[in-house]
Amino acid sequence: MSIILNQTTRIIVQGITGTQGQFHTGQMIAFGSKIVGGVSPGKGGQEVHGVPVYDTVEEAMLKQQVDASVIFVPAKLVKDCALEALEAGIKTLVIVTEHVPLHDTLEIMAYAEKQKAEIVGPNTYGLISPGQCKIGIMPNNIFMPGEVGVVARSGTLSYEIVYQLTGAGVGQSSVVGLGGDRVVGMSFIQVLEKFEADPATKAVVLVGEIGGNAEEKAADYIKGMTKPVVAFLAGKSAPPGKRMGHAGAIIERGKGTFKSKVEALTAAGVSVANLPWEVGPLVKQALAQGSEKVYG
């Protein structure tokens, strides 16, 4: 088991004929993902890595059974492609593209809610269930199947944390990148709920960063979880008022600070790692203590 994805998930790639689309379609297939089609307007009838290309999402869905779609098109085109997928009935949509205008994201999210679809991203590396399936751009070789769920806002920092976990012999059930933008689809809480319900996940690692209040809200939810949670947060040394790379990573008007997040998580019974390489040992410790969470 795992969350959102497994070995039977049937995926289409929007923007499959672009450089990124082509390359990552190959990588996903190599990892074992079932890519059943691609969409690229005007390129219908072609093939990429043996995968049939369609002109529209509706056409792809007429000809294939599809569970999820991943978007690789340039930022300006994301809104159109996302709305197309949602109207066609896609229920799991991953938007890898970064630099999507905020108002476009808002429109996509409003329509997704109406269509009862789940969106991961924008500006995400995607999600992966090691040993089964991946949707996104993460390197294939750092993951290891196991029983720890990982949810993160940042891409390469999740790779770093997963690398530390794998190095410590701690495998992962699923790893989800929420995306670094100010407005993204799936939240920490939605992913935590899925990990809490997933029998294959025994503990969760939350990778957060400064800015916004997503970690504080997650902490509220974690208070009611039965599975242990370990966290790592980036941005302790970041000065206020400066946007640290991600649109959402900024301390504004004294809000979104590192301290506030650590305090909220600690109060919820989360072990917060000071250093990236402390995450593996803390998870092992939490697992050894059993699934019953220890407070205080």
Binding site: A75, K76, H99, V100, P101, L102, H103, D104, T105, L106, E107, M109, A110, Y111, K114, Y125, I137, M138, P139, A152, R153, S154, G155, T156, L157, S158, Y159, E160, Y163, G180, R182, V183, G185, S187, V207, E209, I210, G212, N213, A214, K217, F232, A234, G235, K236, S237, A238, P239, K242, R243, M244, G245, H246, A247, G248, A249, N274, L275, P276, W277
Partner: protein, 377 residues
Amino acid sequence: MKLYEYMAKEIFRRNGIPVPMGAVFTGVDGVAAFQEKTGSVAIKSQVLSGGRGKAGGIKFATEPQDAISKVQELLASKIKGCQVETVLIEEKVTIERELYLAITVDGSKRQIVLLASVAGGMDIEQVPEEQVIKRFIDITIGLQPYATREITRQMGLKGREAKQTEEVMLKLYQVFRKYDAELVEINPLVVTPSQVLAADGKMTVDDEAAYRFLPEVPYVEEKTAVEKKADDLGISYVELDGEVGVMANGAGITMATLDLLQHFGSSARNFMDAGGGSSEKATAAALEILLSTNPKALLINIFGGITRCDDVARAFVQVKKALDLKLPVVIRLVGTNEDLGTAILREQGIESFKSVEEAVTKVISLLKGGGTDVHNS
């Protein structure tokens, strides 16, 4: 990108939101004539930081000579460290009451939110929460007149002040959408005997939508020269004041690298996220930017996903040769093509690390130890 007050107000005016009559000055030419024509005036420094009034950035004048000397005074001053380069001179308006109005995005709700209060004219963060009305707006239907009627009802506004405030809300929402804004704020929205008008204006527009900004949106430079150069290369860069120049790929890992330097007793000269998928050429350009800020040492932390370690290694070797680097450099390479990258560096006598812990402690020991060059160690 934050706009100056006078820019925000020009956009408000164009879109039918009443603003006080005013003019922009960068020197004293025309100040006297404008004051004589207008009468009693407010002279407002144009700076991007908040709390300008308290910091002495707003002055009043009723005589031409007084207006000139106050303009000179403001143009010679700094507000919270920012040199005042422009002033906005406006007619003084008769204030019956001051309201607050803003539209922004609530990231956790993924929705647009309108904030309104009858406690205008003060820092909204200081206003008790129960005095701020929050109304979420469904972007698929936008802000409709009925919603504004409910908001003014909750504010306790009546008759013409309610009606005029509702009109401003509708127009402000149009501005928010039309200009791809992250924030539009009017504080205070002033009720005068005849109208309600925007006595102040704040506007932040979304940089990601810059390609479709309407021509009337001006460009405001908020970045330093180095930050701008990085921006042109598609690199995310923030200048800091520490000792170690840092290049990493990805915002999260870059922040974590900065934190590690601080944890082990050093500090970063910058935040540089060289991004995913950087080519050899782009990496070389990024390294040159780093070196231009004269750091005491360099720390390169690459977790190759889309970025290929061999590209980074080749770029580094090229820059090292071209610039005859003397400062200590530590490189950490993991991920896509790491063996290839490590081999390229080793050929040149450059050591690289797999462990971020070793890399960070190494760069600090080189700094403290007086800066022996790691390449020849």
